[in-house]
């Protein structure tokens, strides 16, 4: 079921396109129809004047935050200054937003109840995105590890005449004894083998 359309005009600025699309999808699902996504802050001044957004959501990695705060303040020059993260006193929201890497600029006077769900959603989406990135990273290093272990096994099989399962058992036992990861043991063995093997021309 589609939630009722939310008239709040929201500008999302994120140079990371993937993350921007994750946030956009979330906002649309939540019924925010008045949505603008920007990846590049070049020419943002005009966009802000055109859109007159009620809320700007921006990632903390963006060095242009200082410029943007100033801009948002100027575009509303005759009105009151901007507030950030919903409310000055809402320290839990502020901390959650900063931890997630997102910041929101909100026109002062806008009802907290209307902005809070939006910021909560952005925080949630940011967290989901960084979890996704972390999992990808872990999967990649897992694959790297497996390659290292395979090469280390090969070295042990060739130099010590072990079977594949014996070679693996030896790596695992060493890792357990030294309280280290099996990937680290394998890496150390590969480095050592590289150092010890005679090079071309030195034979």
């Amino acid at each position: 079921m589609q939630p009722p359309p939310n008239p709040l005009s929201v500008l999302v600025i994120d140079e990371n396109r993937l993350r921007a699309s994750v946030i956009e999808a979330g906002l649309r699902d939540a019924g925010y129809v008045n949505l603008t996504i920007v990846h590049d802050v070049v020419g943002i001044a005009r966009r802000i004047t055109e859109i007159e957004p009620d809320v700007i959501v921006i990632d903390l990695e963006n060095p242009n935050r200082d410029m943007l705060e100033n801009m948002f303040q100027l575009s509303r020059a005759v009105k009151r200054p901007i507030a950030m993260f919903v409310d000055h006193s809402d320290s839990a929201s502020i901390e959650a937003a900063v931890d997630a890497g997102v910041s929101a600029y909100v026109v002062d006077g806008l009802k907290k109840e209307r902005v809070k769900p939006l910021l909560d959603m952005a925080i949630c989406r940011f967290n989901a995105f960084s979890r996704m990135v972390r999992e990808l990273e872990e999967a990649r290093s897992e694959l790297e590890n497996r390659k290292l272990v395979d090469r280390a096994k090969g070295i042990l099989m060739a130099t010590r005449g072990l079977s594949e399962s014996e070679a693996y058992a030896l790596l695992r036992k060493t890792a357990m004894n030294q309280n280290r990861k099996i990937g680290e043991i394998a890496e150390g063995l590969i480095t050592a083998a590289g150092l010890l093997s005679p090079r071309e021309g030195e034979r």
Partner: protein
């Protein structure tokens, strides 16, 4: 949770993060029993926010920022104090090659003299104003509540240029200045190092004048500290101030310039070539035409009480906030600005080091035309020359009349 002696300091990759970086890298902090972690940030807004939520206990901040924060001018208001400055000088005004050529036509010379280059710029601005085909000149500073913004506008105003009508002033983050200048988005900027040297060395701009000439011995970055954290951890803060003071002394020693440039050039700190950092450290700046010019007191990390948080500095920044319409003047606002800077904490922490400590909390800015020994406890202290290039005097005891006399 970390121990009480663990401090995380936010910083922006600029030359004047040197004192914090050296305190960590050369173990001045460790020697005081402090486990100092440095967090490189991408914007002043991030530093402010992360101070506010307690990620950072202290940070490298623009000198007027904590004042603006305590005055309720910034989006996140968390009481912040300044128990120490992180050096004097360090900024410059760089203009595009095209604008420099126009200024040279009007008599500018590559001597960084603010009065002469200002006159030339004024002539260019007047011509532009009369022409319908050329757009208004656009300059960038790094933040609305920055020394850059105030010294740049002060310079323009003293040269007869109305910074709110004759030119446009925008905000651009330091690392993006060079690109903005090269692409013609802006005609010039006032920024800290290495972003002036970088433009001059790359042939993308000319240094027109320097902060050290507009207001000699003027403050730039300070140590911003969460007021609540400071209250609960006074001993740790004192130890940190001692470590930073020793680091500042090391940074100020000419023998260490090469090492300092090498450390700051590292990727985790400023992350730019050593060649960009050395000119400011040596006070020999490239002017943009292949020559270098010596600048007195370009960047002063330690000498002349460079780390002392003068209340007169805080009040001058406040006077400029009023001047440029950022806040209304009132006795209460002036009090908040004055109390943001905490020379009492500085003195209490550094007394055991036996270094020169000013006796006064404020001074008349612009009173010293030559290097002058002044009243101090501990070692002897020499201040100045200081002051504004137009001969202006700022007496913090005459704040009201100074504010009233300011022209826009």
């Amino acid at each position: 949770m970390g121990g009480a002696n663990q401090i995380t300091a936010g910083f922006l990759p600029l030359l004047d993060s040197a004192v914090l970086v050296v305190a960590k890298e050369l173990n001045f902090a460790a020697a005081e029993g402090i486990d100092l972690a440095l967090a490189r940030e991408t914007s002043w807004a991030n530093i402010r926010d992360r101070l506010a939520v307690g990620h950072f206990q202290v940070a490298h901040v623009l000198a007027p920022m904590p004042i603006a924060c305590n005055l309720g001018l910034t989006p996140l208001v968390v009481p912040t104090i300044v128990p120490m400055a992180l050096g004097l000088g360090g900024n410059a005004v760089t203009v595009s090659n095209a604008l420099w050529a126009d200024m040279v036509d009007k008599g500018a010379r590559a001597d960084f003299d603010p009065a002469a280059t200002g006159r030339a710029l004024k002539a260019v601005v007047t011509d532009r104003g009369a022409s319908t085909s050329k757009p208004m000149l656009r300059f960038a500073v790094v933040h609305p509540y920055s020394g850059h913004n105030y010294e740049f506008r002060y310079w323009l105003a003293a040269c007869g240029i109305d910074s709110s009508r004759d030119v446009e002033i925008v905000i651009v983050p330091p690392p993006l200045m060079l690109d903005a200048l090269a692409s013609g988005t802006i005609d010039g900027y006032c920024v800290g190092e290495p972003w002036n040297t970088a433009a001059a060395l790359a042939g993308k701009g000319h240094i027109a004048t320097v902060k050290a000439a507009i207001w000699r011995s003027s403050p730039e970055k300070v140590l911003g500290v969460s007021a609540r954290w400071a209250e609960d951890n006074l001993d740790v803060l004192s130890a940190l101030l001692r470590a930073l003071c020793k680091a500042a002394e090391w940074c100020g020693n000419a023998r260490n310039r090469g090492d300092l440039a090498r450390i700051l050039a590292e990727k985790s700190y400023v992350g730019r070539p050593r060649e960009w950092l050395l000119p400011a450290l040596e006070g020999e700046l490239p002017d943009g035409s292949g020559d270098t010019k010596a600048v007195a007191d370009f960047f002063v990390p330690f000498a002349k009480a460079a780390t002392f948080p003068w209340k007169s500095h805080a009040l001058w920044f406040y006077s400029q906030m009023v001047r440029w319409g950022q806040i209304q003047h009132s006795a209460e606002h002036a009090r908040i600005a004055r109390e943001t800077y905490r020379p009492d904490l500085y003195r209490a922490a550094l007394k055991p080091l036996g270094i020169a400590l000013p006796v006064a909390n404020a001074k008349v800015e612009g009173a010293l035309t030559a290097a002058t020994p002044v009243g101090s406890s501990g070692a002897s202290l020499v201040l100045g020359p200081d002051g504004f290039f137009d001969g202006g005097l700022f007496d913090p005891d005459k704040l009201d009349s100074y504010i009233a006399s300011q022209k826009l």
